[in-house]
């Protein structure tokens, strides 16, 4: 799920307003965008790359390693299955408000095919200084600077904040992985930790979680066997009980999902959990 230099990126929704805005920045940052997908504009060219009708066609014409979805919720399942069936190694689904039954189908298909599915409702993935897929301000050097801290976050805005706090004290980042804010997602926080553990350019890890669900409790089980230092911030300590904060907090199983449960599980696993994001760099020993 980590974006590699030279990987061929195909963007669904390249010709739309947001797709154009962000793809232009992805390309300027060095991301190897090779094609776009649009049913209505197939056969044309946009941002200097060909626009084709499907991922299957892109795989044949330009090659396909990473698929990125800048598409509405109603189109996301069909295009994601197209990308998986066309041999994408990684599929990044940025779309918010995808019906969870569609997401479950995407996850099942990705597992069967051995595809890394990132998202949905993610801000994307960044390999700092090399490329990004999604809508992170990777190109802003007051937020992202090359270094060796890997960051995993459910939320894009909190991921941005965490990277900025690191950059301020001179701790650069290696990789950002946005696992997405939905209760069901293709890549779990624990799987993202495993990827950062195995990544040679990463020597320390920042984990940004939220109340709700059991992603952080499961990640704690993974964190216990990782020797790289990990610092974490969990959002939602001050949230009132029983109110659904945005899309988070949908499924609280037993005692899991609460702030206390997550903090205790991570602390038990040797992770340093901080009270506010500005404490993250010092928790890594910076």
């Amino acid at each position: 799920m980590i974006l590699q230099q030279g990987q061929r990126v195909v963007v669904a929704g390249l010709t739309g307003a947001q797709g154009s805005f962000w793809s232009e920045r992805m390309m300027a940052y060095g991301t190897n965008v090779v094609a776009g997908i649009s049913a209505s504009k197939a056969g044309t060219e946009h941002l200097g790359v060909p626009v084709v009708g499907s991922f299957a066609e892109a795989a044949e014409r330009t090659g396909l390693d990473v698929a990125v979805m800048f598409v509405p919720p109603g189109a996301a399942l069909r295009l994601t299955l197209d990308a998986i069936n066309s041999g994408a190694q990684t599929v990044v689904v940025l779309t918010e408000f995808i019906p969870v039954h569609d997401t479950m189908r995407m996850v099942a298909a990705a597992r069967d095919a051995g595809t890394a599915l990132v998202g949905p409702n993610t801000a994307g993935i960044v390999t700092v200084g090399q490329g990004f897929a999604g809508f992170m301000p990777a190109f802003n050097d007051r937020i992202f600077t090359p270094g060796n801290v890997g960051v995993v976050s459910r939320s894009g805005s909190l991921g941005t904040l965490a990277c900025m706090e690191l950059t301020r004290v001179g701790r650069g980042q290696s990789v950002f992985i946005g696992v997405g804010g939905d209760p069901v997602s293709g890549t779990s926080t624990g799987e993202a930790l495993q990827a950062l553990d195995a990544h040679p350019g990463t020597t320390a890890i920042v984990l940004i979680g939220e109340i709700g669900g059991s992603k952080e409790e499961e990640a704690a089980e993974v964190a216990a066997s990782i020797s790289k230092p990990i610092a974490a911030f969990i959002a939602g300590r001050a949230a009132p009980v029983g109110k659904k904060m945005g899309h988070a907090g949908a499924l609280i199983v037993g005692d899991k999902g609460t702030y206390d449960s997550k903090r205790a599980a991570l602390t038990e696993a040797g992770v340093v959990v901080v009270d506010v994001p500005s404490q993250l760099p010092s928790a890594l020993g910076a």
């Binding site: 918010e96 976050s153 909190l158 941005t160 804010g181 949230a239 904060m245 506010v276």
Partner: protein, 376 residues
């Protein structure tokens, strides 16, 4: 979206899961209509059940077993159960119960798929039961295998007729998929003295993101109780929750909004609200600010933007426009970072003659101080 019992049971019936014969009556029905409807029960024992979307209804007096449904309905109509007013009542035949089982299917974030849950100890005391739930992962793309279900249920202590219960479980899965459900629960699923399997209660939660393709269901969704401000925010599609503190919060994304609330608390203050304007709502700064400032408890405001997808210049432009329109009499503290931050910070300096803070923590500390330390 949450639903009351009778909506859930209608879904179950459509999928051939037996439910008791019943009549749904409105609290405002004229006496003659009600009498005519109740006469069809011919004095048989019935259950009179308030249709409110809350757990623990039976223990709160929302279920009455009687042979005189008229007076039970009259007593229940218009009463309050917790935060809900009873405006619909379901009257149904009582069932000769031999066993009460628990059967549910839910979306599970850990396995990213549907999970079947079963207990042989169903009924109102399920939460106090010592018997752990038996769980079984189902696959979203295929029908569950009834013989496999039968084996799992047998192992879990399900009484006879196990195959029938397994059939109900398979149909429950079809209904779960059909309705884009996050949760579909039968508790209790009764086995009668004659060995029939009947759903006596139903609970349904449907994915909000599927409302567009579940129009018929969406029309029958229960409306959660909200404050006036929460309802006003919902009209604009904004997710707003009113809290008790004095520091107003305007931030983008659920994660950053919660973090802002956490930091306010960490530095000794109390947040006045949760309000998310991230995602597709990032152009809605004007109505968002209107809602935040309409709360009379607010004594200072933190505007905390960290733009990834949401562009700080667009959001800040909206805040400035709203600020000039509303001309609020409270201090505001800006922390603006990420996509479009330079344009946004320049706009704040130019239009509001204010200096955005370089550090989020400093903006929040200043807002907490401005709100006063004596927050009751």
């Amino acid at each position: 979206m949450d639903f009351t019992e009778h909506v859930a049971k209608r879904l179950l019936s459509r999928h051939d899961i037996p439910t008791p014969p019943s009549i749904l009556v409105g609290a405002n029905w004229p006496t003659t209509d009600l009498a005519r409807a109740m006469s069809t029960f011919e004095g048989r024992p019935v259950a009179v059940k308030a249709q409110v979307p809350a757990g623990g209804r039976g223990k709160a007096g929302g279920v009455v077993l009687t042979s005189d449904p008229m007076s039970a309905v009259n007593q229940m109509a218009g009463s309050t159960l917790g935060v809900h007013t009873v405006d619909q009542i379901l009257v149904e035949h009582q069932v000769d119960i031999a066993h009460e089982l628990y059967l549910a299917i839910a979306v599970d974030g850990s396995t990213s798929g549907p999970l079947l849950m079963f207990s042989p100890d169903g009924g109102v005391d399920i939460e106090a039961s010592d018997t752990p739930l038996t769980i079984m992962a189902l696959s979203i793309g295929s029908e569950p295998d009834v013989s496999e279900l039968t084996a799992v249920l047998s192992e879990a202590g399900c009484p006879e007729p196990v195959t029938e219960v397994a059939q109900v479980a398979a149909r429950l899965f079809a209904a779960f998929v059909d309705a884009d459900a996050e949760l579909l629960e039968i508790n209790p699923l009764a086995v009668t003295g004659r060995g029939a399997v009947v759903a006596l209660d139903g609970k349904l939660t449907v994915d909000d993101s599927a409302a567009g393709r579940q129009e018929a269901l969406a029309r029958n969704a229960s409306v959660p109780p909200t404050t006036g401000l929460e309802a006003k925010a919902a009209e604009h599609g904004l997710r707003f929750i009113e809290l008790d503190g004095a520091v107003g919060v305007l931030a983008n994304g659920a994660g950053l909004t919660m973090t802002t609330m956490d930091a306010i608390t960490h530095y000794g203050g109390r947040p006045a609200n949760f309000l998310e304007i991230g995602g597709d709502a990032y152009t809605l700064a004007v109505p968002a600010l209107e809602v935040v400032l309409a709360n009379p408890k607010v004594r200072s405001l933190v505007v905390n933007f960290c733009g990834a997808f949401a562009r700080c210049d667009v959001m800040t432009g909206g805040v400035i426009e709203a600020w000039k329109t509303l001309q609020p009499d409270i201090p505001v503290f800006f922390s603006i970072h990420g996509t479009g931050m330079d344009e946004a910070r320049e706009m704040v300096r130019r239009e509001l003659d204010a200096e955005p803070f370089d550090y989020m923590d400093d903006a929040i500390k200043a807002a907490v101080a401005a709100a006063g330390e004596d927050q009751a």
